[in-house]
């Protein structure tokens, strides 16, 4: 099998799968081991496709469970019109719970509640589990053996991440004692420089 054929089969598989495919899954498409190309040949095919897609409507991206072909971000505005349903909006309570699971996993529901200062409703955990963004990864060895939650590969895929390392950086905690030495307080550079890389304009709703 030559490089061109390999590329065609890889492209066909990625376009038809409707889900990300990793190298093993791509190899399996070729049949049993005797007819599978080398992994390097696959990587070359993926790179060649990425080149082909340059300037086109689609691109190849790598997420947690493999490679997927998706519409370029600049075209999402148009493509989104294909579906009449508005994309689901998730409540702040759900997103905060998800953030705690993502950054502090494995974590129990009680620990999430400690940080948020309010109870976490059962329906939120249920939604996160049903969406397969979160799963039970074990039980904490304390009375009641509460479930420990962690995020899934589907979570990473959904948000276009290869691994948890790619999550936006968590703000650092400042020590109360640092206040006394770091006066004046109003240094505009100090408190927020460690904040998230992409500053979303999302705070607007707080005023």
């Amino acid at each position: 099998m030559n490089a061109e054929q390999t590329k065609q089969i890889v492209e066909a598989a990625l376009l038809a799968a409707g889900r990300p495919l990793n190298l093993d899954q791509l190899l399996a498409v070729f049949g049993d081991e005797s007819v599978q190309p080398e992994r390097d040949a696959l990587r070359a095919a993926l790179a060649a496709l990425a080149d082909d897609y340059e300037g086109r409507a689609i691109e190849i991206v790598q997420v947690a469970s493999g490679w997927r072909v998706q519409v370029r971000a600049g075209l999402a505005e148009w493509v989104g019109r294909l579906w009449e349903e508005r994309p689901t909006r998730y409540s702040r309570a759900l997103l905060e719970t998800l953030a705690l699971v993502a950054y502090r996993q494995p974590i129990t529901r009680g620990e999430i509640e400690d940080v948020r200062g309010v109870t976490v409703s059962t329906s939120i955990m249920k939604t996160l589990l049903e969406r397969e963004w979160v799963r039970i990864v074990g039980h904490r060895d304390v009375p009641g053996r509460p479930a420990l939650y962690g995020t899934t590969r589907e979570f990473l895929d959904y948000f276009g991440l290869k691994s948890l390392d790619e999550l936006p950086t968590l703000a650092e905690l400042r020590d109360i004692d640092s206040l006394n030495v770091e006066l004046p307080l109003d240094d505009p550079n100090s408190p927020h420089e460690v904040q998230a890389i992409e500053e979303p304009a999302a705070l607007a709703d707080n005023e």
Partner: protein, 276 residues
């Protein structure tokens, strides 16, 4: 319901000065206020809002002022008959306690050892704030079906092929042992190695026989199997007879023996032998 009057609680900050009284001419529909109050994700969120609104640093909250504002909101929520989560009241108590401790003069000389009464609250506020921010960051990530659309092209012959599961002999035997232990079959040793080959042969013989047609008895035996094989087949036939699974007929002594699988119509004279 009338518009609430809250003398102490600033509804807005105008040029740095909190507007404490709701202007008489400004009417906030109760519904809108309710929606506003319901947007808070709990006491920490409400406190953060109060602090941020005044551009205060979380590390240096004026406890007395913030407590007063917080209590104002709590009263308002109660007045609006919003279902007030217990956490809000717990926080109110915590604020009151911190406030009172702040008023106590600190013993001179050991400022370092005496923790700031606000420390725990500040830690919790910061902790909550960073995850609140993280939630907003996650919300801003490009999301599948909202910002990202995966190619999904029609494939020819999209049929699902079910692969067969694999089992090892050991797994099979372990499963069997467990079933036996439950059934106490171990108590009766009526299955011996020898009978296994007989049982296999019983199946083989039965498989070759038909219910509506006789088979020559001698054809059941394969001489090439040797004496042992012939004996096994014979035992199998006897066992099948005992279990009323086959019919054997012989027209007269020394005439050929014929065998057929048992069927209900022929076996009516028999007392049905169920397995023991």
């Amino acid at each position: 319901m009338t518009a609430p009057e809250q003398s102490e609680m600033p509804f807005a900050v105008v040029q740095g000065n909190p507007v404490l009284a709701l202007p008489r001419d400004l009417y906030i529909p109760p519904d809108a206020l309710e929606v506003f109050l319901e947007t808070f994700e709990g006491p920490l969120d409400l406190l953060l809002y109060l602090i941020k609104r005044q551009n205060l640093d979380v590390l240096d909250i004026p406890i007395a002022e913030i407590t007063r504002q917080y209590m104002g909101y709590i009263e308002l929520m109660q007045e609006m008959r919003l279902e007030l989560a217990a956490e809000y009241l717990v926080m109110a108590a915590m604020l009151a306690e911190i406030k009172s401790r702040m008023l106590l003069p600190r013993p001179a000389g050991n400022e370092d050892e005496e923790a700031d009464p606000r420390a725990e609250l500040i830690r919790r506020l910061q902790e909550y704030e960073r995850y609140k921010q993280a939630a907003e960051d996650i919300e801003a990530l490009p999301r599948l079906h909202r910002d990202v659309f995966q190619a999904d092209v029609e494939a020819p012959e999209r049929k699902v092929v079910q692969m067969l599961a694999e089992v090892t002999l050991k797994e099979l035997l372990l499963a069997f042992r467990e079933a036996l232990q439950r059934s106490e079959m171990f108590a009766h040793h009526h299955i011996q190695r020898e009978t296994l080959s007989v049982r296999q042969r019983m199946g083989e013989v039965l498989g070759r026989l038909k219910a509506d047609e006789f088979t020559d008895f001698s054809t059941l035996f394969a001489p090439e199997e040797g004496r042992h094989g012939v004996v096994v087949t014979f035992l199998a036939v006897l066992e099948l007879m005992k279990e009323s699974l086959i019919e054997i007929v012989q027209a007269e002594p020394y005439a050929p023996i014929h065998v057929k699988a048992a069927s209900a119509s022929i076996a009516d004279g028999d007392t049905a032998l169920t397995t023991d």
